[in-house]
Amino acid sequence: MSQAVSQAPNQTRHFPGGEEIIRCTGVNKWYGEFHVLKNVNLTVQKGERIVVCGPSGSGKSTMIRCLNRLEEHQKGTIVIDGIELTNNLKNIELVRREVGMVFQHFNLFPHLTVLENCTLAPIWVRKKPKAEAEEMAMNYLKRVRIAEQAHKYPGQLSGGQQQRVAIARSLCMNPKIMLFDEPTSALDPEMVKEVLDVMIGLAEDGMTMLCVTHEMGFAKSVADRVIFMDRGEIVEQDTPEEFFSNPKSERTRLFLSQILNH
């Protein structure tokens, strides 16, 4: 792991004192015999915006799913906001409260209205009174510009609208970290922008974000750091300027040529 340990983040953003919120050390994971994550080391500072890219099957989704224990790692340590992820269910629940996740296929609860989707976890996990949870949910729904649909069911919304609701649902838990697992990959092209706009807004507000995406424009304009993964390892990580103009490894160059030249 000699190459490309995170350099000082770019000049426009500064992370005072390096308040660390995620630390993965020597994380390994296998699906049966298949080695999906190979010795992944990753440190994320509070407020950092990270884009993870790489070819399909490279382990990028698996990596961010390990961060809230949707996947279990078998070797190494993952510490989120001072809590280590082990088999301890209490710790897992504590971490999951602080880590929001947005999925490729939205995964809204189809039997609940948009508003109920957003208030469920605050009411049951954070034990908030219903009125307070609803007020907060409406604020977040306004923020993702979908408040007028609050009483509809997810099935009545378009893909882009559903994904914005999914983002609002995560935000209602006031998470310290947001994980995005290919949030725009299942969307029709004309709906990608509305979701990306919401994510950009979130980034501007200083949310710590890890985003697996193929939207290189988003990476260029928003990310503090781009991580490139291939065959289960972090091959390269750098500021977007450096990453796109001056990729260091051959694999990165190959990947960039494939996604940028078509």
Partner: protein, 368 residues
């Protein structure tokens, strides 16, 4: 190229006359192919030969509810509704003391009121469980008595429709939550729980209900310490609950398997605990999907209560049979079985109709 562009939309036109209306319906549904046409004609012919004699037997040549058996036997060829008139109370209430039979009647009324009220989804709140508990307490007081000046009636004297309803309603009410736990257990990550649930379900499903009833009535006492005996009705009730729980668990498991993995992950990702996730996210969806197979189980279970006759309990079918053993009314089995068949049918058809409505309501608006 402007000729190829239309500036005004085309007006709506009526569909061709041979595609709408009753004639089109006949053509599309009954005579759309030559073999369907032949089938339609054959079925009509069959109905024409079957219905008039049936109607004759049921109504035209039938003796009314007041007729006695000798009158019925002389004017043969029609139904003898006098049998039902004479034996109605025995078939419905069994050997419950004659003067006290308002009590089983009230029991039936209480049950029907509870069931009808339960159909309203707005009442599906925790407090409604208390209403049920109160209702069952009233039923227990009505049937057993011994308090409030009601004479005590042993449950060996219970019979007929109240027995059928008690066995099936209480059976289903207890078996349903048990089935949910079994279905969840079968999909549990904990190996011990899983093995236990799978073993239970497969054991019970592999055994006919009759043998389970026999075991409950004959073998169970062998395992109990001397002097302890469980009431026959209770034993049958337990056997039914065990049986129904295993079958319903499998119906619910089907629903659980149909829920996409993403629903579990989204619930996990929000930090919900296992039970919160199941109660709020997974089960509401899984149970809605399981309605058709569940109702199937409900209906067959309701009818299967008639098997208690083999361990000497007189449910609706049992009392009808017993009524036929009266020497003066021997032989009127058509009337007897038709009568209880209609009662069973009313209950089962209501369940079926309600389940269809419930399915529609639950699916409204929120399916992709």
């Amino acid at each position: 190229m402007t000729d190829n562009v239309r500036s005004v939309g085309l007006p709506d036109e009526r569909p061709p006359s041979n595609t709408v209306g009753p004639l089109a319906w006949l053509r599309n549904n009954l005579f759309n192919t030559w073999y369907n046409a032949v089938l339609t004609v054959l079925v009509l012919a069959l109905l024409a030969t079957a219905i008039p004699p049936l109607f004759n037997w049921l109504v035209v040549k039938a003796h009314g509810f007041g007729a006695d058996s000798t009158a019925c036997r002389q004017g043969a060829g029609g139904a003898c509704w006098g049998f039902i008139g004479e034996k109605l109370r025995f078939i419905l209430f069994g050997t419950f003391p004659w003067e006290e039979q308002w009590r089983p009647l009230a029991t039936i009324a209480v049950f029907i009121a509870l069931l009808v009220a339960s159909c309203d989804r707005r009442l599906w709140k925790p407090w409604f469980g208390l209403v049920w508990a109160a209702g069952l307490a009233v039923v227990a007081i009505l049937m057993w008595g011994g308090v409030f000046g009601l004479t005590y009636v042993e449950n060996t004297l219970w019979g007929g429709l109240p027995l059928t309803i008690i066995l099936s309603v209480i059976g289903l009410a207890v078996a349903f939550p048990a089935a949910i736990l079994l279905a969840l257990g079968r999909r549990s990550n904990m190996p011990a729980v899983k093995v236990l649930c799978v073993t239970y379900i497969e054991l019970i499903r592999g055994v006919p209900l009759i043998s389970l009833l026999f075991m409950a009535s004959v073998m169970l006492p062998l395992f109990l310490p001397n002097g302890v005996s469980i009431d026959k009705l209770l034993r049958a009730q337990i056997a039914f609950i065990m049986f129904a729980a295993a079958y319903m668990a499998e119906a619910i498991r089907g629903g659980l398997q149909a829920i996409p993995k993403g629903q579990y992950e989204a619930a996990d990702g929000l930090g919900l605990t296992y039970w919160q996730k199941m109660r709020k996210i997974i089960l509401p969806q899984a149970l809605a999907i399981s309605i058709p197979p569940l109702v199937n189980t409900f209906i067959s279970f309701f009818k299967d209560t008639s098997l208690v006759i083999i361990i000497g309990l007189y449910d609706l079918l049992g009392t009808a049979k017993a009524a036929l053993s009266d020497p003066s009314w021997r032989g009127f089995y058509r009337e007897a079985y038709l009568f209880i068949g209609v009662i069973y049918w009313i209950f089962c058809f209501s369940m079926s109709k309600y389940s269809q409505k419930l399915e529609r309501d639950l699916n409204r608006g929120h399916r992709r």
